[in-house]
């Protein structure tokens, strides 16, 4: 085939850009929401903790940021607390136009040098049937079990 400027650029496009586009779209579908921007530190760092109020026997959700300063990924395996009968990692998502669903995330990967956000309308720690009323201003403890960094117990303030 005769090489013209058009065929040259078409080949370049196919060779470089199309695989890149597939790679980008594939990454967006599978990776947790993370922040690339990092501050100095080491290990696993938790910040911005809070949870919604809930009456006894009902549900609440806890939110925070998990930053992994290490060069290896880590995994949040489970979460425990005596404030609820069941504690699970969940994610809210839009199933279709205006219809919201929720699904369990069995294990949450925390990529190296990244922050994963647990926030309203997305990833959250689901507290099923809280054992006492959680009112604005209360606090409770959550224990996070990481594959690499072991147990980390954090304090969660309740606020509106």
């Amino acid at each position: 085939m005769k090489r013209t400027p058009f065929t040259f650029f078409a080949s370049l496009f196919a060779a470089l850009l199309l695989p890149a586009l597939f790679l980008i779209s594939g990454c967006e579908a599978e990776q947790p929401r993370t922040d690339a921007e990092m501050i100095d530190g080491d290990g696993i760092h938790i910040e911005g903790t809070w949870a919604r109020p809930a009456s006894e026997g009902r549900m609440s959700a806890a939110y925070f940021l998990i930053t992994n300063f290490e060069e290896e990924p880590d995994t949040l395996l489970s979460v425990e607390s005596d404030v609820a009968r069941l504690v699970e990692i969940h994610e809210s998502f839009e199933r279709e136009e205006g219809m919201m669903g929720m699904r369990e995330i069995p294990q949450l990967q925390i990529p190296a040098q990244s922050t994963v956000r647990l926030e309203q309308g997305g990833l959250h720690i689901m507290l099923i049937q809280v054992t006492r009323t959680l009112a604005d201003g209360d606090t409770f403890e959550l224990t996070l079990n990481f594959a690499g960094h072991g147990e980390k117990t954090i304090e969660i303030p309740v606020r509106l």
């Binding site: 109020p53 969940h90 839009e94 929720m102």
Partner: protein
């Protein structure tokens, strides 16, 4: 008739017509429906008749929902807190899970959000009425998954529409918002137009 008076009346008529035309279009009219509901205090509430005459901000929730519905509830509360002049504007949260969300349950839920007070109403009803109400406002819900607790109790969760409605003084639907996603200031601006 004096010519200046005639011209004044004519001008006012034009202005009134123009102002009416500038208001937001109505998406639906609920003035022809009647749903008998119960609030968190066990009092009977007729929708929309008992809200007629004042704007109404209404969200749809179920109390076993930890994330999206708490967001909707807090948003309705924030609209009230941030309104410069709430006047007689009313605020309601209606459950689409009436089997579990009794008035007593709704009262505790409202209290946890510091909303068990005027001008907030947390509403439930018999399942048939709630189903008809939800169909009328195009609120969809369906069971998604469940968990069995250690004592054998089964707890189920729902997929559902994410919705806050703004209804005007004449029971007409003015705006239909994504309940947890809509910035509060948009609802505040829309309320000012009523």
């Amino acid at each position: 008739m004096n010519r200046s008076i005639f011209l004044t009346i004519l001008t006012l008529s034009f202005l009134l017509t123009a102002l009416t035309g500038c208001g937001p279009e109505r998406l639906d009219d609920y003035s022809d429906v009647r749903f008998e509901l119960t609030d968190q205090n066990g009092e009977s509430v007729i929708f929309p008749d008992d809200f007629r005459g004042a704007p109404l901000v209404v969200g749809f929730i179920y109390t076993h929902c930890p994330d999206i519905c708490s967001f909707i509830t807090a948003n309705v509360g924030k609209v009230y807190e941030e309104l410069d002049n709430p006047g007689d504007t009313r605020f309601a949260l209606v459950t689409f899970d009436p089997e579990r969300d009794t008035p007593e349950v709704l009262k505790k839920y409202a209290d946890a959000f510091d909303m068990d007070r005027e001008p907030f109403s947390f509403l439930t009803g018999d399942p048939e009425t709630i189903q008809a109400f939800m169909e009328r406002v195009s609120l969809r819900s369906q069971e998604s998954f469940s968990r069995d607790l250690d004592d054998g109790e089964r707890v189920y969760f729902l997929n559902h529409s994410d919705k806050i409605l703004l209804i005007d003084q004449n029971s007409r639907l003015v705006f239909d918002y994504g309940g947890s996603m809509t910035p509060i200031n948009i609802i505040l601006e829309d309320l000012k137009k009523l």
